[in-house]
């Protein structure tokens, strides 16, 4: 048995073990379904109600991805601005920190006021949730670029844009991908917050309705769907990260440029 295979089997065993312990605990301590449903009940609900859950899943995934995409675009632009200009750094950072300290659940009603309930506030909430880590990481990556690398370019009479595209941004890529993995899970949080507060679609809304009718297994089924979506997207970004910035981990073979 190879080492890689054994590692994979081990981690699978631990994950399955977690659910088994949960199941046993519920049975042994006679925990009521309304407090904590057994995993088998959650999976059963998920299976039986799949046709009802599916459209909500699609809605949440769609909202998150759109919000996340907007977050990436605006986050990179802001990060480049803050990371490459002293003035933008001094003014932008305090503003950004102040803004990201605001609980996002408090912002949702404002979005609803502006754009009405539904998908738009959820997209915007996902975007602002995912924005902050991206901005900070891209700015850090750019600001910590070794001056010697820039000198190489300056000696060639490179323009600021040349330096940004050939040194700054590639240098910031490992930071950027680290932030993407954090941000994509935050984007889900943003979407679900907005769906819970003001929407009639999405997993957040489904869970609200389920909990108001004390359908706790369905609430947990919703949580499970969210967790699976989050893990899935995280895995996708890890994969892209490995392809693009293998140089930072000193992997052999592939062409990263």
């Amino acid at each position: 048995m190879t080492y890689a295979l054994r590692r994979r089997l081990n981690s699978a065993a631990v994950i399955i073990g977690f659910f088994v312990v949960w199941e046993l605990a519920c049975v042994i301590f006679h925990i009521k379904e309304i407090v904590l449903p057994r995993p088998s009940q959650v999976f059963e609900t998920l299976w039986l109600q799949a046709p009802a859950i599916w459209p909500h899943t699609v809605q949440t995934l769609y909202t998150t991805l759109v919000g996340f995409a907007l977050g990436i675009v605006s986050g990179v632009l802001l990060g480049v601005l803050i990371g490459s200009s002293r003035l933008a750094y001094d003014t932008g950072y305090p503003l950004l920190i102040g803004f990201s300290s605001i609980p996002k659940v408090a912002v949702v009603p404002i979005f609803v006021l502006w754009f009405g309930a539904g998908t738009v506030p959820a997209v915007l909430t996902a975007m602002i949730m995912s924005l902050f880590p991206i901005v900070v990481n891209v700015a850090t990556g750019l600001a910590t670029t070794e001056p010697e690398l820039e000198d190489v370019m300056k000696a060639l009479r490179a323009t600021k844009l040349d330096i940004l595209f050939n040194v700054g941004l590639p240098r910031a890529m490992p930071y950027f991908f680290a932030s993407l993995k954090v941000s994509v899970t935050l984007a889900f949080v943003g979407t679900v917050i907005a769906e819970t507060v003001a929407s009639n679609q999405g997993i957040g809304n489904l869970m609200m309705i389920a909990s108001s009718s004390f359908d706790v297994p369905l609430v947990f089924a919703g949580l499970l769907v969210l967790a699976l979506l989050g893990v899935g997207l995280y895995a996708i970004f890890s994969l892209i990260e490995g392809r693009v910035i293998g140089w930072a981990r000193r992997k052999d073979g592939a062409d990263f440029a």
Partner: protein, 275 residues
Amino acid sequence: MNEDAPPFVHLQDVRLTYGHGERTVEALGTTNLKVGKGDFVALVGPSGCGKSTILKLVTGLIPASAGWVFVAQREVGAEPVRVGMAFQNPTLLPWLTIRKNVMLPLKIVPPFRQQYRAKKKTEFRDRADALLEQVGLAGFGDKFPWQLSGGMLQRASLCRALIHDPQLLMLDEPFGALDQFTREELWAILQDLWLTRRPTVLLVTHDLKEAGYLANRVCVMRARPGRIVEDCAVDFVRPRTIEMTYEPGFVSLTQRLRELIVSARAPDAAVESAA
């Protein structure tokens, strides 16, 4: 150098100071230096004497506090001169293969940058490979910087400084971190490259043997404030060999340079080294 021809690099009453008011540090005192086209000049001197500062001024990386820096009869920065630069650290970009690192100047410097897209897979690629072969790195084009040793990286860095056929080549202690044998090998390679392409070279070094082997002129500098105190012509025949560095003429040159540097150091330091 033809005395009547205008100098290719010309520092006229150049000064450089850091800081303001009482905390002003004079990195480079009033300095004049003329380098003819195609010449090879070495700058030697104790640490902190402003050797690297001169390179940075001529490259335009830092502006002079006073005086003028001319390259090809135009003020630095405005001149359409191709500059190649190699540093003590190889400073290769870790996300690019060796070949792409070497090709970087072609992507930036006109007139090559306009053709980069069309020629990067054919002509420019061959050009990089030919240069890599010349410095003994044939077959390493697809490796990444971390897969090569320090000496190999420095060779690649030399290729990057030369790929765009620079008229002006700036070398800031390029062999400082290498062992003696690698260093001597690279001296020969650099001499070959200079003899075939004839760029104007400014070389900063701590190694007097290196200065004598490679340069046509050696400028000795002293510190606090940095300035040039002596300008020695080196007229051994080319191509020079390592064997020549053990001949009496060469040895007496390096001895003379050494004495100049020792006496150029601060008085207390000179006493210390004499004791």
